[in-house]
């Protein structure tokens, strides 16, 4: 996959945006292509052809695709639409729950809510305004500089609305399973972004220490949810914090723009082709009636 190196080799803010926008473009292009394929196949059904006043014979002759392939496309269009709706509803609910939670949590001071448990936990709860939730166990484990790093990290999540990026990545992956890995990549990019933001209030080594202190010896509260990807993500974040800071360069944007442009051109060309095909079929239909 291209995404993980992209996350590590680019400044995280740029990586997050490229991955999110790129995911949307890919999802839009693949959905449009599938819809076209399905439409050409459905248009060949005699009933649909007579309703649309075009010639199903001409479509059958000129169309480069078999009905079977179009049928598969039609099934996929429906399946992805269902998936998209499901993910959309789930994320909308989760966001609403989070905003409610942020409003209900007892805040000590403005943005912070501490809850008492020995487990080391820290969350950014998106809301209006968002809330940083940290367990007392986590705060006791860290020194002053590390606490500052942790708070800055969580604040960055809220300030840059990382949950929106992640929701967009989920929606894009819902209609294109091939970019499923993009969700984890966007998540990692957001974490990196927050780590780099935290490194503006304290040295990068401190951010790395905070991360490892929080990670090791952490009692597992939710058995069964243990994710193998987690270490890779944490280790990748630690590595990135130890490496020299990445500065923004021009070439990734250029590459991205090139890829996006070619995708868009391909989509427009197939759309124009299909349009032309149906115009021909309509002419054939009219000619056939005379």
């Amino acid at each position: 996959m291209v995404a993980p190196p992209l996350v590590v080799h680019l400044p995280p803010r740029m990586a997050t945006w490229l991955l999110t926008v790129g995911g949307v473009l890919l999802a839009a292009a693949s959905s449009a292509s599938l819809a076209l394929l399905a439409f050409v196949a459905v248009g060949r059904l005699p009933l649909v052809a007579s309703l649309g006043r075009w010639s199903d014979d001409l479509l059958a002759q000129r169309s480069p695709l078999s009905v079977a392939l179009g049928g598969v496309a039609a099934v996929l269009v429906v399946a992805f639409a269902v998936r998209f709706t499901r993910v959309f509803v789930a994320r909308a609910r989760a966001t609403r729950d989070s905003f409610r939670l942020a409003a209900e949590l007892p805040r000590q001071g403005g943005e912070l809510c501490v809850f008492e448990t020995a487990a080391r936990r820290a969350f950014a709860v998106p809301g209006k305004p968002g809330c940083i939730v940290v367990s007392s166990g986590m705060l006791q484990e860290l020194d002053a500089a590390q606490r500052r790093a942790l708070l800055a990290h969580e604040r960055a999540h809220l300030q840059h609305r990382h949950h929106v990026h992640q929701t967009v990545a989920w929606l894009a992956a819902a209609v294109n399973p091939l970019i499923g890995a993009n969700r984890a990549a966007v998540e990692l990019a957001c974490e990196r972004w927050a780590d780099e933001d935290a490194s503006r209030v304290c040295p990068r080594e401190v951010v790395a220490e905070t991360l490892s202190r929080a990670a090791v010896g952490r009692p597992a509260e939710l058995p069964g949810l243990a994710l193998c990807a987690a270490t890779t993500a944490v280790v990748a974040r630690l590595d990135a914090l130890r490496a020299p800071k990445r500065t923004a360069t021009f070439w990734p944007l250029l590459t991205f723009a090139g890829a996006a442009l070619s995708t868009a051109v391909a989509a427009v060309m197939s759309w124009r082709y299909t349009e032309g095909l149906f115009e021909l079929a309509q002419e054939a239909y009219r000619a056939g009636r005379h």
């Binding site: 949590l105 403005g110 008492e116 998106p126 705060l139 990290h153 969580e154 929080a214 280790v235």
Partner: protein
């Protein structure tokens, strides 16, 4: 772009959080001077005092007499509302749908062992 006032408000919020976190981390009540010392002199004593006064007014901290100074401690969430709500949230939602960003995802015991080894190795290298 953020205007000056909004930026200042956010910075104040960050300072409040930092001082609150310090009180939560301490095992006993701290005086303003002790808080300032704990923060490694990143904040002036007067700033710490001002923010503690603000937190006191909000009811986020309580204070008691400690010799000639006041000692401050975080107000415990007696009914445990925060803990209950967080637990409900965590139990109710799975990773698929949650929009909360966790500082760390849950690690498996093996993951944790790997990470510990890595850290040990690095520590060893740092000492030599």
């Amino acid at each position: 772009m953020e205007n000056g006032a909004a930026l200042k408000r956010r910075q104040n919020g960050a300072l409040e959080s930092e001082i609150l976190a310090t009180l939560w981390a301490a095992k006993r009540p701290l005086t303003a001077g002790e808080v300032a010392a704990e923060l490694d002199g990143t904040l002036a004593y007067t700033t710490v005092q001002t923010i503690l006064a603000r937190l006191l007014a909000k009811g986020a901290v309580q204070r008691q007499q400690a010799g000639r100074a006041h000692a401050y401690s975080a107000v415990l969430d007696g009914s445990g509302i925060a803990a209950t709500k967080m637990r409900a949230q965590l139990d109710g939602s799975n990773d698929r749908t949650s929009v909360l960003s966790r500082f760390l995802q849950d690690l498996s015991p093996e993951d944790e062992a790997t990470l510990s080894t890595l850290l040990e190795l690095r520590r060893g290298r740092g000492d030599s």
